[in-house]
């Protein structure tokens, strides 16, 4: 056998190089990534790039209400005269913060419980998974609604309410992966050498359970933004004067036949963001499939 080795560029947990490889080979995932970068940039730069930064928060201009799109207001104005483009850019901040916070909470709780349940199995595993099942038994949106209603409606409330319904999916996913690898050779070997359980989980079970979670996270981001928009739309999420896309849709819906721009643009923003996350997630799923991995 020769001592030549294939170039060491691929890994299972994708770094920047892995992401670049996936995006290069998958046009749709590339589009998703570009869209997401633009949305994130828009959110970060909102105070500097929006035409009327004050409109993003508290300012109102009753004299300029419901102006059609024009050169001074590219996407028109809403009922109280705020620039729709400005509100959209500020709304990106709210939506992204909600998405990131919900997914971080759900993933940390779900993955921790899932890895423990999947690796340990037995009574502890059963207990964790039955609690997970109880949470899964409730329709997600209904549970979120009930929680958001009990707590005081706000962005923080929306984050908690959505995270509570989201973590069980991660627990279940991680548990199934963890239980499938708990009898691999390297884990048996570590146990034979009396490596503490916590270290076996941290070093061997966790890193090998993360790839599907990563893919699920990017697939779910769009769904979280939609759910947050639904809560806001029903008045149980973000409150005035916070800019939030779901809230904007709710406020604009009655005006659709006369002043279409108030509802259409935030709706499009939700659609495009959810689309971007979804195609990127699909790309990651295909790209991280070990069967497609080069040697």
């Amino acid at each position: 056998m020769s001592l030549e080795l294939a170039p060491a560029t691929t890994r299972r947990i994708p770094g920047m190089a892995g992401l670049a490889r996936i995006v290069r080979s998958d046009v749709l995932a590339g589009i998703g990534l570009v869209l997401l970068v633009l949305i994130v940039l828009a959110a970060i730069l909102a105070p500097w790039i929006s035409p009327y930064p004050a409109d993003g928060t508290v300012a109102t201009h009753p004299m300029e209400s419901l102006l059609a799109p024009s050169s001074s207001h590219w996407l028109g104005t809403d009922q109280v005269g705020r620039d729709v483009l400005t509100r959209l850019l500020y709304g990106a901040r709210t939506s992204l913060v909600i998405a990131v916070a919900v997914l971080a909470l759900a993933a940390v709780i779900g993955v921790t419980l899932g890895v423990i349940a999947g690796y340990l199995g037995g009574l502890v595993g059963d207990l964790i998974m039955r609690v997970t099942d109880i949470f899964l038994a409730f329709p997600a949106l209904l549970l979120s609604l009930a929680l958001a209603m009990v707590l005081h409606p706000s962005v923080t409330t929306a984050i908690i309410a959505i995270a509570v319904t989201w973590w069980p999916w991660y627990a279940r996913l991680t548990a199934s992966v963890a239980s499938s690898i708990r009898h691999r050779g390297y884990i048996d070997a570590a146990r034979c050498l009396d490596v503490p359980t916590r270290r076996v989980i941290r070093r061997h079970v966790l890193p090998n359970s993360l790839t599907p979670v990563l893919v699920q996270l990017s697939l779910d981001a769009g769904g979280v933004i939609l759910t947050a928009a639904s809560l806001s739309y029903l008045g149980l999420g973000a409150q005035e004067p916070t800019s939030e896309w779901g809230l904007m849709v709710e406020q604009g819906q009655s005006l659709f036949t006369t002043d279409w721009w108030v509802v259409t643009f935030p709706g499009l923003a939700i659609l495009i963001t959810a689309f971007a996350f979804n195609v990127l997630g699909e790309g990651l799923r295909a790209g991280l499939d070990p069967r497609r991995e080069s040697r």
């Binding site: 056998m1 001592l3 080795l5 294939a6 060491a8 691929t10 890994r11 299972r12 947990i13 691999r184 050779g185 390297y186 070997a189 034979c192 050498l193 009396d194 490596v195 070093r203 061997h204 890193p207 090998n208 070990p290 991995e293 040697r295």
Partner: protein, 265 residues
């Protein structure tokens, strides 16, 4: 060689080993003495009890197995030893090489980290560890560059040699190899076998080889133990087994060896 080894203490000594699960006997090994530098092969088909015997010698059978007899591995009585007693010999004195090494390595750990961590678990750290790793890699003729790789980035033969390198780095005296070459193609098989032979000669490494491949083991083993349905049916030197054995099962195994290409299935 035999005149020298006969004066040595066996590193593995088995007497009257019987393994059963729920009252059903699955493997028995009346006698086995593995001396330093020696290679003994357990040969047989699936379910012959050869792997079970190997796991018993390593003290790796679960609590559901009932094991009787006596097993002394590297000076430790395996059947009465505590967990700490077994850990003192596992890895550092007797190492297990599995059929498919790529699946027994953590896919998210580079080989360098894998070797460093394993050595650290056995109390070898820092410069000493690095020196041992470098030495063992040159021993198995792999470039140091391979330490930066993940298990899926090396070939089956390289992974198997890395597993052997790890055993060498830990200073193991015995390698227990469970079908170490059946997942490899024929030329790579020959390389792994040659490596084991060289380590035996250079370091006095003893090898306990489990295989279904009589053609392969007859070229490397000093002694062959043929097992069938959990019992030993034949034993002897390769010459005795291949040319003189009258045991029907042994004759069947010999007849099953293809004559042209040396590969069998």
């Amino acid at each position: 060689m035999s005149s020298i080894v006969e004066r040595l203490e066996p590193v593995v000594r088995v007497r009257d080993l019987v393994v059963g699960y729920g009252g059903c006997q699955v493997a028995s090994l009346p006698e086995l003495d593995l001396l330093p530098g020696q290679c003994i092969a357990l040969v047989g088909g699936s379910g012959s009890g050869k792997t079970t015997s190997l796991l018993a010698i390593l003290g790796l059978l679960g609590r559901s197995a009932s094991v009787t007899g006596s097993i002394r591995t590297c000076g430790v009585d395996v059947l009465t030893a505590t967990g700490a007693g077994l850990r003192a010999i596992r890895g550092s004195r007797i190492a297990l090489i599995m059929q498919s090494p790529q699946e027994s390595f953590n896919p998210t750990t580079r080989f360098g980290a894998l070797m460093r961590r394993t050595l650290a678990l056995h109390g070898v750290r820092g410069k000493d560890a690095e020196a041992r790793i470098a030495r063992s890699l040159s021993n198995v003729q792999l470039p140091a560059e391979i330490l930066r790789r993940y298990p899926h980035q090396v070939s089956g033969g390289q992974a198997q040699r890395l597993a052997i390198a790890l055993a060498v780095a830990l200073g193991a005296e015995v390698i227990a190899a469970d079908e170490p070459t059946s997942a490899l193609d024929v030329t790579v098989q020959a390389e792994v076998v040659a490596l084991l032979q060289r380590l035996r000669a250079e370091r006095g490494l003893a090898v306990l080889l489990v295989s279904h491949d009589l053609a392969l083991v007859s070229t490397v083993a000093d002694r062959i133990v043929v097992m069938q349905s959990g019992t030993v049916v034949d034993a002897g030197t390769p010459r005795e087994i291949v040319t003189q054995s009258q045991v029907p099962y042994t004759r069947e195994l010999i007849a099953a060896v293809p004559t042209l290409d040396g590969a069998d299935e």
